[in-house]
Amino acid sequence: MSDRVVLMIGTKKGVFVAEAPSTRRKFALRGPFGAGVGVNATLVDTRGATRLYASSCNPFFGMKVLRSTDLGKTFKETKSAPAFPKEDGRAMANIWSLEPGPGKKELWAGVEPAALFRSGDGGDTWEKVPGISDHDHARKWTPGNGGLCMHTILRDGNRVHLGISTGGHYLSEDGGQTFKASNQGVACGFLPDPYPEFGQCVHKIVRHDAAPGRLYMQNHGGFKETKGGGVLRSDDYGRTWKSIAKGLPSDFGFPISVHPQDADTVYVMPLDTSTRSCPEAQPAVWRSENGGGAWKKLTKGLPPKDSYFTILRDAMDIDDTKSPAIYFGTTTGRVWMGRDGGEKFECLFDALPPVHCVKAAVV
């Protein structure tokens, strides 16, 4: 069978799966699964037979993990979901990230309150990863507006990068056994000390296999005292960070994405700090093709004005077809696709529930 493009769209009222041939002319929509329950994280696991995962963050009955083995035609709960041991004293509030681990069926989950969990059996059983979950800093992290969440998990051999809001960027170089805060240059404009060891409100971090050591970060910018501190780049595995925000209309935003075939091409959606919508209510994706040295505004096909939606931290992704399209979902329930890396946008779905996250994969 030829390649198919699959989108997992996590929303306030469940997860949807959209599927299209690689031309992406028309997407068929399935769902919602876990209907009525918020989904903050999804994963298309293409190791072996494709499996789809979604967190089902139920404020009534607690956390569940949903799994599909038929490309999102049906989902079932896994046998258990991440849960803190009784003696820990913390209670699970949300699951914010799901990522493949190094083992064949291994999954990692970043949760709220910020902690990391590991499953060795595809999500049926989970254990807390103590190196970060019980870190000396863990009880000193504080919640941002979205809660105290571990939203980013990036693996690079024995290196593991974690993003915590608000906690900052943490780096492990021993496969996740131990972690150190690694935030030199990451601004924290809302604190008296704007460059603390930890406590930054990091919004999202991405990397590319072809550029070892390089990371891009969307941080909580928008402060004139730490101007430019919202969009950052590291070239030394996250030890130090520098601004790449010059040329953007705002250094505040939530998502950041890197092109799957070009480590120098990175995307952000700058937002106004007060409304958390695009500056002047005019939606735009901004693309840099030289690692953040210069930015181009991409608006073709998007509404020209009067748009006050927000794009949340995990609501933007790029597929890995020959000519990748970029996708983003809005808090007003729209999902947009920008062909040719964002050159021309079209609305795929215009009346979904508020979109929390979008993942794109070729299967």
């Binding site: 009525g36 404020p59 009534f60 009955f61 607690g62 258990s80 009784k86 004293g89 913390r90 209670a91």
Partner: protein, 67 residues
């Protein structure tokens, strides 16, 4: 004397998956779950220490709300 707390403990032992939908990891009853002994909400009696006697009915009733 048995009470609501001990009844929940019995649920935890016999139906752990159900228990995790009623109480979080700390043992606290989830925010949207209501417990009634007969017709009275336990918050209007003695919370989880509300005693149970033979013939009492403990009802576990989630709120139906949202938007």
């Amino acid at each position: 004397m048995p009470d609501v707390r001990s009844a929940l403990r019995a649920v935890e032992e016999s139906h752990p998956h159900l228990y995790s939908s009623i109480c979080d990891e700390t043992g606290a009853v989830r925010r949207h779950v209501n417990l009634f002994v007969n017709t009275l909400h336990v918050r209007d009696r003695n919370g989880l220490d509300t005693p149970l006697v033979a013939g009492d009915v403990l009802t576990i009733l989630p709120s139906v709300s949202g938007g």
